[in-house]
């Protein structure tokens, strides 16, 4: 199949849950859209938590992954379920309808059907018709089949991880799947690993974990310098259906007298702005790294021309 349109597809994955995949996927997509990119976010997770991060679940929108299942299982055209979730951001929703999809696809695979292009093919058709500058796929932590579909369609893999042994084990699992997916999708590259959930004051611990991850990667892929701190602000943001930068702007943007006049106690932005800054720096690093790979051959052309 023609992968020309799949060059800016980024899968966010780790073999372990709770490491920051969904929040990173939603925030990266939201920030890129805010920066002017036209972004498609695909929620491939049966938990469908992208809906909480972007606030559409609370608004009663979303289809629990029905359209995605129709595209992947029945060959229906893939299309964004929610358009304009934020300006320039469309979403293909995930949800519990995806729970049975892994088993169904696995049965097909056992009958000899190749699954490598199951997502890549309809996504490629969608991207040929609708121009997106960036596609972000939020992968489920446990379902190997769904992960392989995402890796079959992606050009880049970003692995968020925490510093604990279980997260590193999950990282190993997803790298093993990357190796499997490359048999079908050789253009797939590990864009980098992101360290999540470290307290901003735990400098020594952060250095040790970063060193361990770098040793583990052995120079074959980079660790992003930016880490995303542990902060309660992430929970607050999700509870309100806001992305962290929106939450930071909301809590930081209200002058104290406005709250007093309305009879409320003034809100404190707490660590929300710092967390938003972590994500903004990380999103910048990710986009910069993709751009640098895209631009590298142009530089090479210029130097040899």
């Amino acid at each position: 199949m023609n992968r020309d349109g799949l060059t800016r597809v980024v899968a966010i994955a780790n073999g372990k849950g709770g490491v920051g995949k969904t929040t990173l996927a939603a925030t990266l997509a939201g920030m890129a859209a805010e920066a002017g990119y036209r972004v498609l976010l695909i929620d491939l997770d049966p938990q469908g938590n992208v809906g909480e991060d972007l606030g559409y679940t609370g608004a009663g929108r979303g289809d629990d992954g029905a359209a995605l299942v129709a595209a992947l299982a029945a060959g229906a055209p893939l299309a964004p379920v929610l358009t304009g979730v934020r300006e320039r951001l469309d979403v293909v929703c995930g949800g519990e309808r995806l729970e049975d999809l892994g088993g169904l696809l696995l049965a097909r695979q056992k009958r000899g059907v190749q699954l490598g292009d199951t997502l890549a093919e309809p996504l490629s058709q969608l991207l040929a018709a609708a121009e997106y500058d960036l596609v972000v796929i939020d992968c489920p932590p446990g379902d190997a089949t769904l992960q392989l579909l995402a890796l079959g369609a992606a050009r880049w893999l970003v692995i968020p991880t925490r510093g604990d042994a279980a997260s590193l084990k999950g990282m190993t699992r997803i790298v093993q799947r990357l190796v499997v997916a490359r048999e079908h999708n050789p253009s797939l590259e590990l864009l980098g690993v992101v360290l999540f959930g470290i307290s901003s004051s735990a400098t020594r611990l952060r250095r040790e974990i970063q060193s361990q991850i770098r040793t583990s990667l052995g120079g074959a892929a980079p660790l992003f310098e930016t880490t995303v701190r542990h902060s309660i602000a992430a929970t607050d943001a999700r509870a309100q259906g806001l992305l962290i930068q929106e939450h930071a702007a909301a809590v930081g943007g209200e002058p104290f007298w406005q709250a007093l006049r309305a009879g409320r106690s003034p809100s404190s932005p707490g660590s929300a702005p710092a967390l938003a800054e972590d994500y903004a720096t990380l999103a910048h690093d990710i986009l910069l790294r993709i751009a640098s790979y895209e631009n590298a051959p142009i530089e090479d052309e210029a130097s040899t021309a």
């Binding site: 992968r3 020309d4 042994a165 590259e189």
Partner: protein, 196 residues
């Protein structure tokens, strides 16, 4: 029943996993962002920091130009698809390449490398003049803008081994043109394409 002694989890060796050779069923490609309203681009980084992976070092004692055809040909010997390189081909040549690859039930990468392998000794006549035109009148030589290619080019990314990469680099150095021009010329000869 024995009680296991608690031990810390060893650091996983992801580097080796990531360097695991893969089979290239499909030629990887990348394209430049679609024409209209290009997204905001980050500034270009130095090339050294842009290589996604560092492949294992080749034997430095062996000149690149002396690499055998089997190392240029994807069918030859052990392969490790570690290094991504981008090639810019004229649109019609790109299309012909993929049609030919499909017809031969092979990959675009294999077709490109086979073409270079088959024609590398006879490329000189098919390559554009690498000399930079300049106007020498007046105070100093003024380099003139290179003539733009008549046809838009399409970016294709291929993954090659160190040996293949080194051999391609040696060819670009020998002929003084870009990698894309070397591969384009090789493909034109190999596929019998004229023009472009």
């Amino acid at each position: 029943m024995t009680t296991p002694t608690p031990q810390p989890m060893p650091t996983p060796d992801l580097g080796s996993l990531l360097r695991t050779p893969g089979r290239a069923h499909v030629a990887p490609k990348t394209t430049a962002p679609r024409g209209s309203a290009a997204p905001p681009r980050a500034p270009m980084l130095p090339r050294k920091t842009t290589m996604p992976m560092v492949a294992s070092a080749p034997d430095p004692s062996r000149p690149a130009a002396a690499l055998s055809d089997s190392e240029l040909t994807p069918a030859g010997g052990k392969r490790t698809y570690l290094r991504s390189i981008s090639v810019y081909l004229p649109r019609t040549l790109h299309r012909t390449l993929h049609e030919e690859a499909a017809r031969r039930s092979t990959t675009a990468t294999a077709t490109m490398l086979t073409a270079v392998s088959a024609t590398h000794a006879t490329l000189e006549g098919a390559l554009p003049d690498s000399r930079e035109e300049s106007v020498a009148e007046g105070l100093f030589d003024i380099p003139q803008a290179r003539q733009k290619s008549a046809e838009p080019r399409v970016a294709t990314t291929i993954r090659v081994t160190d040996a293949q990469h080194q051999a391609l680099t040696a060819l670009t150095a020998r002929y003084g043109v870009s990698r894309s021009e070397v591969i384009s010329a090789a493909l034109r000869i190999h596929l019998g394409v004229t023009g472009g």
